[in-house]
Symmetry: C2
């Protein structure tokens, strides 16, 4: 990341968080150069960049000012109360009909769950694939089953160490992506008919796993910044025989909430008090925009009750289907379920990722990826400000690649989905994120693709469609 | 395969099947050369080879004679009656404790479930991995989810076509190996507590899948040559509310039985009459020793009731974890379960296998593989004849890489397993192949590794251990 880009980012952050309001003057070149310790030419380059991004504009002989649309004071989506009772889960038909309709690659994929593959070092990974598969000891293909490739597990343990966690190799199991890990964890601690505390809204894949395992959901509201509501969770743990809790602690899908360390600590303590395992879905952990990696709740677990699930699908190697789980006291049970379900993860993919982590430049790639996603978020927020009704409420997560929007009351997001699909734009409508099909006015938008004219026009089109609901 | 090898194979087959008995004179060089249309030098080369393999020996001035040990008239293992009632399945502890103890790569792996990786074209596959991953269209990683890589599904459909089946692409789903396919199929047609007809003995992975899904087993005896007993199956379908039937129609693991076409046809008709789906586990289909590929039962299914599961793990690419299922009328349900379980199979592995099937020489590799396995079977049978008690009964499958042995009554195969492990030899003891832990006198031996002195010595050691039981 170049110096001027870093400085531009700092100013963009001030705008995004409302420190620099609409029409405010941004620091003068002289002031900025003195105050931030950068050269005047760096400041100029940064301001040109911010101008191109539509965040500021120049006024003759007065300097640069914040673009009114860029700094619109966004309002968080509201916290929505959840039903008190548990619900059997039956969302698959709806989810699949929506996912099916998105398959056309010509569609503008705001409804997608994935970041765009051009953001990933696929060529470099191909080199790792070629070299590791050429040199592979053939006996590995039969001896190197689950828990998985030892070199890869060592690399994963090293990354835990960087985050301050001492993770014993024996606890780590490689899986076919995080989705399989989550399936195995939930199966390890439940029987059909059991109750599971989940977030509301929740990622629809979580709902599908519950449905597949015939479990009932107890929805716990998620605050758009703080994460799962501990007060409500405590009450429900008191009232109901909950067998497990599933939470995305960092950059929650779809709301984008990230729990503070204190919040995570309290969550772990609360669940420990009730002896309820936490299934921690942490697939976006590496996609933070701030200066520091967020810790997982697992870091505060002293009793082996947290099953921490991660993946390389969102940060490095989409399509390789390599994830993992550190399942604490359930590690052996989960490993055996894995052996009974699919034996092991694909070995060439495991070996290639292990090689890349050792010899590639994962951290440099991650820095570029985070920067790209943060900038794409700014572009999409600016488009929301420009094209969507003033009463739109929107999340501004500090990581990941999703916005969660609460649209005006007149909007039905399932209808909006169908109208938008007819115009070649997909969105993820709110009701697929809830077993009780709530969030009818909400949509999740994916900004995981580099922003371009097509994205901009699609947002304008969505804005027009939304306006029609009021009329 | 060279001409003399082909001729040697023909003679070996005559010996193996008992057409040429112990001490019989093999055809003279002149007779053979005239009768089989090969040159005298080809016959000589073939006889030298058979001599090295221990199948024949020369007597001065009299010609070649069948080695008594090579032609010992093996007796089939007996058909063992199964309990009439259904059984909850709980074998995992036993199976895992046995599998765990086999992990040492120094062990002589007669207990292994895999063929030896040196039999596979891993270098050529590595080239396919390198070229397909280098040229991969990045958008495939998000658009190319389940049902799987279209080029690979096309190649699988082509192979079905070679076997005389018209398989629509839409029916084919790529999975993380056949084990995942079998899991998904069984889940698609059962609820926890349901009854499933399985084979006795059955591959222990089948038992583990039933256990994981909390299903009950109805054991149907398997005849060592003909396969699953249709009479008993018909009676049990009459008596019990069976929801699915799981059968390995070709080279059944562990018995090696292969159903005739008529048998398969009758099986499909019987199940159709009761509207019970057949889960056809056909992972050894390509490992036939005869001149023709056996047809799957799926070939006789006109109602979409057969779910046919295949894999490349045993014929081409161990460790890649690429299998598939053609699930008939359940195809959509199985695909959706797959999406909910693990999204899709690893994409680099899928693309590499597709490329190999299109540009490699799969059929040539398979011919070599089949020939190697058939020869390894002869070596292991000769060792059984040489070292094991005369009352040993043994299967002689026409494909795959397992022998199933019934040892003298005094033998407890779980004790034999532990004694052999102490001497660095693994075997697969009979009780892990049954939910009721029967087959205490049986073992399954793997001949999937090229035969050598180590194999020979290990068989001698096993023979001595077995002898001790009587004493």
């Amino acid at each position: 990341m170049k110096r001027y880009e870093k400085f531009a980012d700092a100013i963009a952050e001030l705008i995004r968080t409302g420190v620099l309001m609409a029409d405010a003057r941004v620091p003068s070149v002289r002031h900025a150069s003195q105050h931030y310790g950068v050269s005047p030419s760096t400041v100029f380059q940064a301001y040109y960049l911010l101008e191109r991004q539509g965040l500021i504009h120049a006024r003759p002989r007065s300097g640069y000012f914040v673009n009114p649309l860029a700094s619109r004071p966004f309002t968080d989506p509201p916290v929505v109360a959840a039903p008190a009772e548990s619900t059997p889960v039956d969302v698959s038909e709806l989810v699949f009909s929506i996912l099916d309709s998105m398959k056309n690659p010509q569609t503008v994929a705001f409804g997608s769950a994935f970041p765009h593959p051009t953001l990933f070092p696929l060529q470099r990974l191909a080199r790792s694939l070629a070299s590791t598969s050429r040199d592979m000891d053939p006996t590995l293909t039969v001896t190197d089953l689950s828990p998985g490739n030892p070199a890869l597990r060592r690399q994963v343990a090293l990354r835990y160490r960087l985050a301050g966690l001492d993770m014993p190799m024996e606890e780590l199991l490689i899986t076919n992506g995080a989705l399989e890990a989550l399936n195995l964890c939930l199966q390890a601690v439940t029987e059909p008919g059991d109750l599971v505390a989940i977030e509301a809204p929740a990622f629809y894949a979580c709902l599908q796993v519950l449905e597949r395992l015939k479990l009932k959901a107890v929805e716990i509201p998620v605050h758009p910044r703080d994460g799962i509501d501990l007060q409500v969770l405590a009450e429900q743990l008191q009232r109901l025989p909950i067998k497990a809790c599933w939470s995305m602690t960092n950059f929650q899908n779809p709301l984008g909430a990230s729990q503070s360390e204190a919040h995570k600590q309290a969550l772990v303590a609360l669940l420990h008090q009730h002896q309820v395992p936490l299934i921690e879905d942490d697939v976006y952990a590496e996609l933070y925009y701030g200066p520091h990696a967020p810790k997982p709740a697992k870091a505060f677990d002293r009793h082996g009750l947290v099953m921490h699930c991660g993946s390389f699908a969102k940060s490095l190697a989409p399509g390789y289907r390599v994830g993992w789980v550190a399942a604490g006291r359930y590690a052996q049970k989960v490993e055996r379920l894995k052996l009974m379900t699919s034996l092991c993860a694909s070995m060439p993919a495991q070996a290639a990722i292990a090689d890349y982590l050792e010899h590639g430049s994962y951290d440099r790639h991650l820095r570029k990826l985070r920067q790209a996603l943060a900038q794409q978020q700014r572009s999409m927020l600016a488009a929301v400000a420009k094209y969507f009704p003033a009463s739109t409420r929107v999340s501004r997560p500090n990581g990941g690649y999703f916005l969660w929007l609460q649209l005006p009351d007149a909007v039905d997001s399932l209808v909006l989905f169908r109208l938008a699909m007819e115009l070649g734009i997909s969105i993820a409508p709110g009701p697929i994120f809830s077993p009780t099909r709530r969030f009818a006015q909400c949509v999740r938008l994916n900004y995981g693709k580099p922003w371009d004219q097509v994205s901009e026009r699609a947002m304008a089109t969505l804005g027009r469609l939304i306006d029609q609901f009021g009329a």
